[in-house]
Amino acid sequence: MTGNGFTATGGVNRAESTPGTIDTSSDARHQAAFLSLHDVRKTYPGVVALDGFSIEIRPGEVIGLVGENGAGKSTLMKILGGVAAPDRGLIRIDGVDHDRLTVENSLQSGIAFVHQELNLFENLDVAANIFLGREPLRGGPLKLVDRAKLREMVLPLLKRVGANFTADTPVSELSLAQQQMVEIAKALSIKARLVILDEPTSSLPLAETEKLLGVIKGLKAEGISVIFISHRLHEVESVADRVIVLRDGMLAGTLASDAINHDQMVKLMIGRALKARTNTSEREAGAVALSAKGIRTAAYPHRTVDLDVLHGEILGLAGLVGSGRTEFARVVFGIDRSLGGELYLDGKHVLLSSSADAVATGIFLVPEDRKLAGILLDFAIAQNISLPNLSAHSANLIISAASENTTAEAQKSNLGIKAPSVKTRVGTLSGGNQQKVVLAKWLAMKPRIMIFDEPTRGIDIGAKAEIYRLMQALADTGVAVLMISSDMEEVIGVSDRVAVMHEGQISGILAKDQLDQENVLLLAVGKSAR
């Protein structure tokens, strides 16, 4: 609990006098803010996630919150939700100051979240989900749920969100947009005053998106505030009263309603001057190594991906989270079957029915989720490295530990894996070293196509540089490298060319001379590059 953090400051003259408040005088005609943050800072080891951030939220206001991946949006959400404590700064709710919020504070203050990944129980019906843990009970020792009363309580909530489904529909039968309505109804049921929607439209088709935007307007009309986090700038444009742009954990700017437009938002999101490209190689890309023609994946069954990756290049694959990049990579690596389309390797049609086929043809993947798919935490370094290539380390199907260890030793010194020995369990290594083990596994074989999915997520700067160096070295030897990344600096800095994906399609390919953040961002949100 915050204990001494509570300081009553009285009901009048609240936020206005605090230093560090953003100038929002154009909005001052509205009611006073009921919730505000002042000069909030939050750091994680090695990263400043949020710094000097202030915001005021007034009743009935729809605030658009935009920024690149890693700009500090989720940190802000965690602070408001009481999950993370700021290192510094003040949170003021109804005139009461807090050093930090607890989850209970947040709930009692009427802050409700609708997360990108919905937290509904698909096996229960709508009503049960909305009042889970708070069901009205009938008297008596059995504490049975009063189903009639529950229904009575749920109906007005569903009406408020304009639901076109009934309270006893199982959630598993609802569309995504309908599920989001359930989440919003749940928020309303706790008498929310602020509903925070995190990328609510990222997986919705257009018609459903319109419906959701309508619900947001309905909330606004009831005097409920909304923070709308989205990468889809035109939606932000259409629904927000005010837009707040975050960049590198700082407030990049605030746009009042008349100043909200697409270009302004993009400009603020990019902000900083372009970093120099770290990829200064002069190598010439060779022939087409991998050619994807009309590949369709489960993420966007009606869109097709056409993409060529050349020998000796690093092709960056940029795009927003959920744009279908990982699904494409899984198809190329044979993990998932494509719903259609063909893959050509050096001009020859290949059929990949499993990852084993991909590995046999020299297509390797460094997956996004290292612990889930990249390595076996309980296996030794040497065993992880040899796993895809055991036939080379065995005679008559019996594994030679000596051969495994020799290869592992060579990779360990080649990649600079910091570990006491190759027999060390991978689970005890740091993230960067674990990632190097994943790389070592493939480098010990002969890669023709290397796919990296978010190769430097969650690893420190030193290991990052090392991994970039290895990727360049791979490309120098003629390997075709496809790098999926949401880190703008990485995409710009490391790639020779960048393909950008938007909603399941390649929205554009940028050559070296067109490569800048604005172009990548424009393509990522579905506009065309300049």
Binding site: S355, A358, A373, L376, L387
Partner: protein, 327 residues
Amino acid sequence: MNKKDIGLLILIVVVGAVVATINPRFLLPINLANTSNLIGLFGILSIGQAFVIITGGIELSVGSLIALLGVLFIDLIANHGMAWPLAFMLILVLGGLIGLAHGWLITRLKLQPFVVTLCGLLIYRGIARFYTADGTAGFAFGQNFPTLEFLTAGRTYGIPNSFIALLIIMGVTWVVLHRSVFGRYLYAIGKNEEAARYSGIRTGRMVMAAYVICGVLTALSAIYFAMYTRSISPASHGNFYELYAIAAAVLGGFSLRGGEGSIVGVILGTILLQELQNLVNLLGIPSSLNFAVMGGVILIGVLVDQQWDVFRAKRRLNKAAHSTPSN
């Protein structure tokens, strides 16, 4: 042998010593031979189970399969005059096919191993009873198969041949599980199937192969059990045998989540279970308490093992806390 195996071995020796002091008959050759015969029979099917558990699966139909395949085997050689080596091979193939069917349902149709093999448990038991019209399958008076009987129920220098068979199977499966590429794949799949798949392993085929191995070894032990009892009433023959196998694996350090356990471990588990059976008989404990004793010992064993791990983790944490300077 790892530390857990050694701990289990010590436990087996201690229990044996205690039983021997109370009742010296424990060490009589006839008792040792009988017990090692049972260890052989149960050991073979426990090794089969071990292959499945390594992948994170489970095989519950073992007991029913022992009844069904046993009934079929006896019927083939006693009533249909089939040459026993042919019947022998046929039963092994049948066991393998049933394992293949289970593996296929589990990996291709994505059914849960528990569900698939539970259905097997019910189905095979039902078929076995129907096949004999709920009667008893056995040999006619004077019917003899000297070679077969020698191989299954005979002895060599006083050692039951079933036990020798177990030793051979142990040796082969030890190499397969602990030294071969296939064994490494099974451990990898048990630990993290997704990561195994991302390393280019055909995980589905490997898991299926594990069920096939389990099926074949179960079929083999079904023949041994049939020749040991020489008559089978399919309503009760092999009841709960899958649980003996699972218990042996768990005692031997297997995790039901997969990826952990060894051949030596599962054999030591089998030995301990049979020793406990023997203990109940020799110490005059009412045989109705048989299961209760086994259950109790397994529970205590698992509990001690788990608490030991917690203790070691704590000690490691303490050490780490002391070795880092606090300021």
